[in-house]
């Protein structure tokens, strides 16, 4: 009997222990191999976390960031928590301690103490905004538990920043301010929204009772993917020079608006694109919508006399006349119907086509347009890209207005050649002039050179020029350039467009703006477009001032300080062109083609033709 009791006392607990061990072991196997079939009734230990992919960066031609996303901290205060003593939660904080806290917050965040005091006293809300900062030092101080600033809540959020400030605002555009779902609203941010937007990530896992995650039980683990980066052709240094010159010109000419373009003749790349007044993309909602329009592509306007170059191309290419063909300057020529006037200019009885371009004679070009015929003129205009979208990678591009030639009345036959009754955009004009500089080859202008993903894989590469057509022959282009040389010389309409050391092939334009059913007598679009250097073209620069201050009388000029004939392209836009061209040619290291203008002594004994 005694032996049986002993056996029972031993085997009993031992059996229980072994059974328990086996039970625990089986359960562990089930848990580790995830063989549990029934789920807990309330999945309180499961969590889902969504992460936002960072928006892609926009780079310039020099690979400098023009628009990027960064993480900042927003600081809010809970006034109710601020009223409690952090050392003794059951007591109210003393006035001295409260003041000390507010002073600390104000000093660290570098905001006025009064603003902090107002926030702490705002008992209507439990989440009062204080400031936003990207400073790591400030974050380290305010999030330090030893500071006992329990009333502060610090939220991390992503913001879009534009290091260049107001520059390039019309090209880059802006994004909406919703931190969880920012969307491009204009410019490249809008056009390339699909490329720039990051892909969100998801994490779905299980937490332990203590709060830590059971890493091996992650069911879904998809990393957020940053957006792709967009590389532009815009050079921020050229953009800066253009903006500086245009800004100064706008102030001195008292123009309402201005825009400028710099295009590469050989490739069609847009090196600078400026519209003034500009705006801060980070504050886009505080400016009028009219200010946010990119006028270089979204404003169709009557170009005026800059159209005469296109007419000259058509006339020479068709053989209607040559550069030295003499044309009568009489307005009341019975062979022509209601020719435009040339103002108070008194010409000789006849002048050559070359002289007509240099002096910008409306009568001669009106006659040439009629002789050419509306069909041919319209064909040349459209084949040189006018009245057609260029296809540039920006939203909001206008087509312009070049009505079909069959709808032209007889007055328009002589008005269209001088740029009246038709409307084009600045980019179309600059691109047409670039074709003249490129020996008649019309290219598609572009502003995006490549798109690269976050791992460096090139998703899109522009790879050089894209030829649209050959509207004029190379010799025609060369002849027209040679004719245009006289515009920036003595006797031409734009002596002020000259650039020392470089030949300039340009044209002025002074176009009345539409007013009601007629034209305004005081509001003009004053332009100058030039190809430099004319002998071996590299760039085209277009400058336009809209509504420069009007001044036709010497007395008014003396009284107001506004230059006489300020509204004209040669007075208003040409000097800005010269300033821009001079800096851009140096920056691009384009050699002078008239070096003897720069240093005559060095070339005194130079053999003839060395520098031609």
């Amino acid at each position: 009997m005694t032996g049986a009791n002993e056996r029972l006392r031993f085997y009993g607990p031992a059996t229980l222990l072994i059974a328990a061990a086996i039970g625990v072991g089986v359960r562990l196997v089930f848990l580790h191999l995830d063989l549990v079939t029934s789920k807990p009734p309330v999945p309180r230990y499961e969590f889902v976390r969504n992460t936002q992919g960072c928006r892609g960066t926009i780079f310039s031609a020099n690979d400098d960031a023009l628009a990027q996303t960064k993480t900042v901290w927003e600081y809010h205060v809970d006034p109710m928590v601020a009223a409690i003593d952090p050392d003794n939660p059951k007591k109210q904080i003393t006035a001295a301690k409260r003041r000390e806290k507010m002073q600390t917050v104000a000093e660290v965040l570098q905001i006025p103490l009064l603003r902090v005091m107002d926030a702490y006293a705002n008992t209507r809300s439990r989440f009062v905004y204080l400031a936003t900062s990207d400073d790591d030092g400030i974050h380290a101080v305010l999030s330090n538990p030893k500071r006992r600033l329990n009333e502060l809540s610090i939220t991390e959020k992503q913001v879009r920043v534009y290091p260049q400030g107001r520059r390039l605002s019309h090209v880059l555009g802006f994004v909406s301010k919703d931190p969880t779902n920012s969307v491009g609203g204009a410019g490249i941010e809008l056009k390339y929204e699909r490329w720039l937007k990051g892909t969100p990530g998801t994490v779905r896992g299980t937490k332990m009772a203590t709060g830590g995650e059971v890493r091996m039980r992650r069911a879904i683990d998809v990393d957020a993917k940053p957006g792709n980066d967009v590389y532009l052709t815009i050079d921020e240094n050229i953009q800066y020079e253009v903006e500086k010159a245009l800004s100064a010109g706008m102030a001195s000419n008292r123009a309402e608006r201005a825009w400028a373009l710099v295009l590469s003749v050989k490739t069609g790349a847009v090196l600078a694109m400026v519209t003034l007044p500009g705006y801060d993309p980070a504050q886009f909602n505080k400016v009028d919508a009219a200010v946010r329009i990119n006028r270089t592509i979204s404003e169709s306007y009557e170009p005026g006399s800059v159209m005469k170059t296109i007419t000259a191309c058509a006339v020479l290419n068709e053989g209607v006349a040559g550069p030295d063909t003499m044309i009568g300057t009489a307005r009341n020529d019975p062979n022509y119907y209601r020719l435009p006037g040339d103002g108070s200019h008194k010409w000789e009885d006849r002048m050559s086509v070359r002289e007509a371009l240099v002096h910008s004679s409306n009568i001669v070009f009106g006659k040439l347009g009629v002789d050419l015929g509306p069909r041919r003129l319209w064909t040349y205009m459209t084949s040189m890209g006018l009245g057609r979208k260029t296809g540039i990678e920006l939203p909001g591009e206008e087509t312009g207005i070049i009505p079909n030639w069959s709808s032209w009345d007889k007055v328009k036959w002589s008005r269209a050649p001088i740029g009246q009754g038709v409307a084009v955009t600045a980019l179309q004009l600059a691109n047409a002039y670039a074709a003249i500089g490129n020996d008649g080859e019309l290219l598609r202008p572009y502003i995006v050179r490549k798109v690269v993903d976050s791992e460096g894989v090139v998703l899109y590469d522009h790879k050089g020029k894209e030829v649209v057509g050959h509207p004029i022959r190379p010799e025609t282009a060369r002849k027209v350039r040679e004719m245009m040389l006289g515009v920036a010389k003595r006797g031409g309409t734009a002596r002020r467009a000259a650039v020392r050391g470089y030949s300039v092939a340009g044209k002025t334009g002074t176009a009345q703006m539409k007013e009601g059913r007629g034209y305004s007598q005081t509001n003009y679009n004053a332009s100058f477009i030039g190809i430099v250097p004319a002998t071996r073209p590299e760039i085209v620069i277009l400058v336009t001032y809209q509504k420069p201050a009007y001044c036709r009388s010497f007395k008014l000029s003396q009284e107001t300080g506004i230059p006489l004939y300020n509204h004209q392209g040669g007075v208003c836009a040409a000097p800005t062109f010269s300033r821009i061209a001079s800096s851009v040619l140096r920056y691009l290291e384009i050699e002078p083609d008239i070096p003897e203008e720069i240093d005559p002594e060095l070339y005194e004994d130079a053999p003839e033709g060395e520098n031609g």
Binding site: I18, V72, G212, G501, R586
Partner: protein, 139 residues
Amino acid sequence: MRRNRRVKKNSRFTSGATGIASLIVSSFIMLMIYWSLDARCTSIMREIGKAENTMKVLDAEHGREMARWNGMKTPERLDEKILRFGLAMGVPRADQVVRMMSNGRPAPGQIAVARAQAKKPMENMALAIPSKPRRSSRR
């Protein structure tokens, strides 16, 4: 003579007990091993979590630094600094630029060097600094 042998009454019991005790001890040891592995897994889990957070923080810091740096080197800022120190610097013309190679010689094909050489032939391969042009006597 028959030797008296003492036979243990519970000998079978004893050998059974040893086996069971071994089983219990080995279960205990396995439990300890499991517990230590689990603790190690939990520790690695925490390290991964920390590393993920650190990476997130560093990424954000990198973004902020890049933004700060890009804001510092805008053309406006550079101009401002140049003016502040009274340097009055401008961009040179193409024919005023001479690029040198690491061997101390000018890079080939430069117009400024070619013009200097045309005026004064080089005696050696070092860069010939152009002399001041002589004024013509035909004035």
